[in-house]
């Protein structure tokens, strides 16, 4: 049985738009507009899309926070809102924008409270906490009230809090938002650790595509509440014809070179290749004044930017 199953999932919000000082108009926002999604145990899924695409709303429906307007969703075999309390024991949730910890308590006490709320056996709790402490370097701020923690420290606390009851599925809504490079790395390698065991399913939304490249095999892209891509990162590159590039810098300018685009006053040649770059590199051997050769992987940012752009143009 799949861990997550969504069929025709929809969420509409009625918002009042101010037209003039007195008049207000009701408008319906289709935040999630018919999402179908199946996620198997142990998958690490990147769920991306431009701002306002409906990512957070989808996650809220899957975690029992929001009641769907239409469609079906099952997580760990439960229907999230009606079976909320049962579901919460099986999932872990991190909302990057919103703290789940107790503002006035040190992390240590928050973790202790969670142990009681989730009724986790003391031994399990202790061993999970020990693992998180060493992987996330929590020790130096374990006794400081949450309100005094930095964002990065707090986020490490949030991750730990979400994992202490041993969830089968971990939902992460922008877990790296606002973090510096080092903290981002810490979060990513921690999540890799969590994922390698293969028994925890991970659903992650982010605007930092490096998170996806590091962590997720599968990528689901949504826009205007609809799934516009579902597959591997490679499949996305293939679909948009993005290719690897070989960039050659020269000492002396050349006028032209077969199969290459000439840039920088003739001092740079750029080749686009499918698959192996070996043939191109072999041909370059005899080129006079050869200074440097670099092989660039296709840039996921470019592909995704193109994807967002085309879907926005298609939209009604």
């Amino acid at each position: 049985m799949s861990v997550i199953e969504a069929r025709g999932l929809r969420k509409e919000f009625t918002v009042r738009v101010k037209r003039s000082r007195l008049r207000r108009e009701k408008r319906i926002v289709h935040a999630v507009d018919g999402v179908d999604l199946t996620v198997e145990r142990g998958e690490m899924l990147g769920y991306i899309g431009p701002n306002g695409a409906g990512k957070s709303t989808t996650l809220k429906m899957m975690t029992g926070v929001l009641m769907p307007s239409a469609g079906e969703v099952r997580v760990c075999g439960y229907t999230p809102v009606p079976q909320r309390t049962k579901l919460t024991r099986r999932i872990g949730v991190v909302f990057g924008q919103r703290s789940q910890l107790w503002w006035d308590l040190p992390l240590r006490d928050s973790f202790d409270l969670l142990r009681h709320i989730f009724r986790v056996p003391a031994a399990d709790h202790a061993s999970r906490l020990r693992r998180c402490r060493s992987l996330l370097d929590l020790d130096e701020f374990l006794d400081i009230p949450v309100r005094q923690l930095s964002l990065g420290q707090r986020m490490r606390g949030e991750l730990t809090a979400a994992l202490l009851h041993g969830p089968e599925v971990l939902f992460l809504d922008e877990p790296t938002i606002g973090l510096d490079v080092v903290s981002k790395q810490a979060v990513r390698s921690f999540l890799t650790e969590v994922g390698v065991r293969g028994d925890t399913t991970l659903v992650l939304t982010t605007h930092d595509l490096a998170d996806i490249e590091r962590l997720c095999q599968r990528l689901v892209v949504i826009d205007h509440g609809r799934v516009v891509h579902d597959g591997t990162i490679d499949a996305l590159h293939a679909r948009y014809g993005s290719r690897r590039r070989v960039v050659v810098d020269l000492d002396e300018p050349v006028a032209s070179y077969s199969g290459a685009i000439v840039e920088a006053d003739g001092r740079r040649l750029v080749f686009e290749v499918d698959g192996s770059a070996a043939a191109v590199v072999a041909r370059l051997g005899g080129l006079p004044g050869l200074r440097d050769i670099a092989i660039l992987e296709p840039d996921i940012e470019d592909v995704v930017a193109r994807l967002y752009k085309t879907t926005t143009e298609d939209a009604p």
């Binding site: 957070s56 029992g64 006490d109 969670l114 009681h116 709320i117």
Partner: protein, 259 residues
């Protein structure tokens, strides 16, 4: 109970504000009683009730309200949680929303009010001329439970409004605190539609007025049939079922906030 301990230690980290709160809570409750005392300096009787008799109603109201406030008063905070989307975090934990909101902030400071309410009621009962029987003792207990439940359901009902109407502001307080004012005095001092709506329509008359009549062994100056007093708490229980249902529907109606 660990949740309780955690809260106490969290509150202890704000010692000064805690002491101030405790102080203001005490003063507010004393003012309630002072108002009634001052009133009776002006008139000898209120709606045909002497000071001692009226104090039974004051005491019943004070204790029932304070106990309800102590147990579920915190539910008022749901407004803030709905407004800021912080309810999201509450919903992903395996406990009901209500118990979590209540435990989020244990109102130790409000305990003082309950103690004070109990004292007022104790003094009132002792000084009023009550012919104690087993039935009357039972009625007292039963009336208090009914009263607490009644005020508790007013708290829940008014808090539920926040799920539909975020800018509900202080409207809820009109019912909770206004209701407490109402039941502090004998209902026959109010007149016409106002009394009908509040005392019978919304059921405030059954919190202190009718139980007090039964305790004091008086007939209703308003001429309702006898036995009303004894049945009054049952009315409160019946009324309490509705807010619980409204609350549950409200939680499903929660729409969180963007992002």
């Amino acid at each position: 109970m660990a949740l309780l301990r955690g809260q106490i230690s969290a509150q202890a980290s704000y010692r000064v504000s805690f002491a101030i709160d405790l102080g203001t809570n005490m003063v507010a409750t004393m003012l309630d009683v002072l108002t009634v005392l001052v009133l009776f300096r002006v008139t000898k009787a209120l709606g045909g009730f002497t000071l001692r008799e009226a104090m039974v109603m004051v005491g019943l109201t004070a204790l029932a309200f304070a106990a309800a406030d102590l147990t579920v008063g915190n539910i008022e905070r749901v407004k803030l949680y709905v407004n800021t989307g912080r309810l999201d975090a509450v919903l992903v934990r395996p406990l009901g929303v209500l118990p979590q909101l209540l435990l989020m902030d244990i109102p130790i400071r409000k305990a003082a009010r309950s103690v004070f309410g109990a004292t007022v009621l104790g003094v009132a009962l002792a000084s009023a001329d009550i012919d104690w029987t087993v039935a009357r003792v039972a009625l007292l207990v039963y009336a208090l439970l009914g009263g607490v439940l009644f005020f508790a359901s007013i708290f829940v009902a008014t808090a539920s409004v926040a799920f539909w109407w975020i800018e509900s502001g202080e409207i809820g307080n009109a019912f909770t605190y206004g209701g407490r004012e109402f039941t502090t005095y004998p209902i026959n001092i109010y007149s016409g539609w106002f009394r009908r709506v509040f005392a019978y329509g919304l059921g405030f008359g059954f919190v202190s007025y009718y139980p007090a009549l039964a305790l004091l062994g008086r007939t209703d100056p308003l001429g309702l049939r006898g036995g009303r007093g004894a049945r009054a708490p049952a009315v409160s229980v019946a009324i309490a079922a509705a807010p619980a249902a409204v609350w549950r529907v409200g939680v499903r109606h929660y729409r969180s906030t963007g992002s």
